[in-house]
C-alpha cells in the first residue's frame, strides 16, 4: 500500500522531528540524531535537506533563524502531534507484539 504523506513516519523522519524538540540547525540535527540513537541511525544530508523542506511545507516545523548558510528550525504543535501519533502507532505495535509472544 502506498504511504500517505507523513501519515506514518519512516525511522529517519521520526528522529529528525524528535531532534527538533529544541531549536537547532541542520548539522546539529544530524549530530543530535546520532546521539539519540547511539549511532545506529545516520541521516544523510540529502535526505535531511529534502525532509526539512517537506516538513516546513506541511507546517510540522518552522524556521527560526538564518545565520549565514545555517538555518535553524523547531518543531511546531502540528509536528509534535504527528510525532505523538507515530509514537502511539509504534507503541501499539510493540504492545501487540508483547501480547502475542
Amino acid at each position: 500500500m502506498p504511504r500517505q504523506r507523513f501519515q506514518t513516519l519512516t525511522e529517519q523522519m521520526f528522529y529528525i522531528l524528535m531532534a527538533l524538540k529544541e531549536e537547532c540547525c541542520g548539522t546539529d540535527i544530524m549530530e543530535r540524531v546520532r546521539t539519540i540513537t547511539e549511532g545506529t541511525v545516520q541521516i544523510g544530508p540529502g535526505t535531511l535537506y529534502n525532509l526539512l523542506d517537506q516538513f516546513q511545507e506541511e507546517g510540522m516545523i518552522r524556521q527560526t533563524r538564518v545565520e549565514g548558510r545555517r538555518r535553524s528550525y523547531i518543531l511546531t504543535d502540528h509536528g509534535l502531534a504527528v510525532l505523538e501519533q507515530e509514537y502511539r502507532r509504534i507503541q501499539t505495535q510493540a504492545e501487540l507484539y508483547r501480547r502475542y509472544f
Binding site: P2, M13, G26, Q42, P45, D53, R70
Partner: protein, 449 residues
C-alpha cells in the same frame, strides 16, 4: 594532452543510477565532471581515481533551476560539509554531488524520501515538459500522417512529408518510452522503499543515441529536400538555437542568470526545437533574388511596352508562327542546392489575353530521392485536382501526366525525364488546343536533358 573533454549525456535526468554510474566510470578513467550542459557534459582531466557520485532532486520552489548558488542550495552544501560530499554541478532540478572518501556515508539515507523527491521533480518539471512535447509532436505527426494518407497517390510519396512524419513519430516514441520506463520504476520503487530498499533507475542510453542519430540524419535529409529559402530559415533557426543555448550555458556557468530566466530559456528552446521545422516551412522566405532581365522597348499601336528578353529553352515560335518581337520572355532561376528550379514564361505583350501563352517549370535534380518531392509539387496543382497518364514513349520520358479540371484534360503536362521534371502549361491555338506529334517532338527536343 587535452585538459577538458565533452561527452553527450543520453540519460534522462530521472535516471540517477545511470548518471552517477557513468560519472564514476568517467572519474576512474581520469575525467571528472565539470559542468552539465544541455546535451554535452564537460569533464576536466584528473588523476584516475575512485570518486563516488550521488544525485539529489531539488523542488522548483527551492530554486532547483537556479544556476546561482541560492541560500537553499548553500544550506544543502552546509549540511554536506562535514560528510565529505561536495556539490559538482546541476542540471534543472538534478544536483550532482561527489565524494572522494573510500566508503562515504550515503548522501540520501531514506529511500522513501529519495523516491518522493525524484517524483516531485518529475511532476514539477519532467512530466509537464514531456506532455507539452508530446502534444506538439502528436499534433504535428497527426498532421503529417493524415496528409500522407488522405492525399492522392502522388502526395503520398512527398519526401518532405514522410521525413517530417517519421521524425515526429520518433520523438513521440522517445517521450512515451521515457515516461513508461519512469512510471514502471516509480510504481516498484515506492513499494521497495517501504522495505528500505532503493530500486535503481534504468534507461537505455544506447537506444537513445540511435534514436538521436536517426533524428539527426532525417533532419539533415529533410533540410536538403527543402527549397533554398526554407533551407536558409532552417539553418538560421538552428543557429539561433545554438546561440541562445550557448549564452544560457555561459550565464549558468558564470552564475549570472536567474532561476526564472533559466526556466524561460529552457522552455523557449524546448519549443523552438520542436517548432523550428514547422517555422522553416511556414515562414518561407518570400524574398526572391532580384533578377535583372535584359529588356527592350517596343512600340505597338501607339503605346510603348517594356518587354523582358530572357533566354528560355522552349519558345512558342518553336511550335507555331508568331511575331517574336511582341513576346515577353521571362526566366527565373531558383537555386535549390543541389537542385535547380527554372520558371519560364512567354506571353504576348498584352499579357494573358487569349493569345498564345507558355509557362513551364523545370526541376533538375542530381539524386533520385528528389524526384518524388518535385513530382508531388508538379502534379498537385490547386486548379487541376486530377490527372491522367499519357504514353511516355511519345515524349521519350519515364512518365507523362496530363492534368484535369472537372475530369476534362487541360493543356497542362507533367513530363518526367531522368534527372528532370517539367510542368508545362501551354496554350497555342484556341480552336485546336491539342498538341500535334510534331509539336511534341519539338518540346522533347528542346526540354529533354
Amino acid at each position: 594532452m587535452a585538459q577538458y573533454t565533452y561527452r553527450m549525456n543520453h540519460r534522462p535526468i530521472t535516471d540517477f543510477t545511470g548518471i552517477t554510474g557513468w560519472l564514476e566510470k568517467m572519474a576512474a578513467k581520469g575525467w571528472m565532471l565539470d559542468f552539465c550542459g544541455t546535451l554535452f557534459w564537460k569533464f576536466r582531466k584528473i588523476e584516475p581515481r575512485q570518486v563516488h557520485f550521488s544525485a539529489i532532486y531539488l523542488p522548483i520552489d527551492c530554486n532547483g533551476f537556479s544556476p546561482v548558488r541560492t541560500p537553499e542550495a548553500e544550506e544543502l552544501e552546509e549540511l554536506c560539509a562535514g560528510t565529505g560530499w561536495y556539490w559538482v554541478s546541476s542540471m534543472y532540478q538534478l544536483q550532482i554531488f561527489a565524494n572522494e572518501e573510500a566508503d562515504p556515508a550515503p548522501l540520501d539515507s531514506d529511500p522513501v524520501v529519495q523516491v518522493e523527491s525524484l517524483h516531485r521533480a518529475m511532476m514539477q518539471n519532467v512530466l509537464p515538459s514531456n506532455i507539452i512535447l508530446l502534444v506538439i509532436a502528436g499534433v504535428m505527426a497527426l498532421f503529417c500522417w493524415s496528409s500522407i494518407f488522405t492525399g492522392n497517390f502522388y502526395s503520398n510519396i512527398g519526401f518532405g512529408h514522410w521525413l517530417a512524419a517519421f521524425n515526429f513519430t520518433i520523438v513521440i516514441l522517445m517521450v512515451l518510452g521515457e515516461l513508461a520506463i519512469y512510471y514502471i520504476w516509480h510504481k516498484r520503487a515506492k513499494e521497495d522503499a517501504q522495505s528500505g530498499f532503493l530500486r535503481p533507475t534504468r534507461s537505455f542510453p544506447g537506444l537513445m543515441m540511435v534514436f538521436l542519430a536517426v533524428l539527426l540524419v532525417v533532419y539533415v535529409l529533410w533540410v536538403c529536400a527543402l527549397p533554398w529559402q526554407s533551407q536558409l530559415t532552417a539553418l538560421s533557426n538552428l543557429f539561433i538555437f545554438i546561440l541562445v543555448r550557448g549564452f544560457a550555458n555561459l550565464g549558468r556557468k558564470n552564475e549570472k542568470m536567474s532561476s526564472w530566466a533559466n526556466i524561460a530559456v529552457i522552455a523557449f528552446l524546448g519549443l523552438w526545437v520542436v517548432l523550428f521545422p514547422v517555422i522553416s516551412i511556414s515562414i518561407r522566405n518570400q524574398i526572391e533574388a532580384s533578377t535583372h532581365h535584359p529588356q527592350s522597348v517596343v512600340l505597338y499601336e501607339g503605346r510603348e511596352y517594356t518587354l523582358n528578353r530572357d533566354e528560355i529553352p522552349l519558345k512558342t515560335e518553336d511550335l507555331m508562327e508568331i511575331d517574336p518581337d511582341l513576346q515577353n520572355y521571362t526566366c527565373e532561376i531558383e537555386s535549390f542546392f543541389p537542385c535547380r528550379i527554372t520558371r519560364n514564361t512567354q506571353h504576348h505583350l498584352w499579357g494573358n489575353t487569349g493569345t498564345p501563352m507558355l509557362y513551364y517549370t523545370i526541376w533538375d535534380y542530381p539524386l533520385p530521392l528528389y524526384r518524388d518531392y518535385f513530382l508531388d509539387q508538379a502534379i498537385n496543382e490547386e486548379f487541376y485536382p486530377t490527372h491522367g497518364e499519357l504514353d511516355p514513349e511519345v515524349w521519350e520520358a519515364e512518365a507523362v501526366y496530363r492534368l484535369q479540371q472537372n475530369g476534362q484534360p487541360q493543356n497542362v503536362y507533367v513530363i518526367c525525364w531522368e534527372g528532370r521534371i517539367v510542368s508545362l502549361h501551354i496554350r497555342l491555338e484556341t480552336e485546336n488546343p491539342e498538341l500535334t506529334a510534331e509539336q511534341i517532338a519539338t518540346i522533347v527536343e528542346k526540354l529533354k536533358p
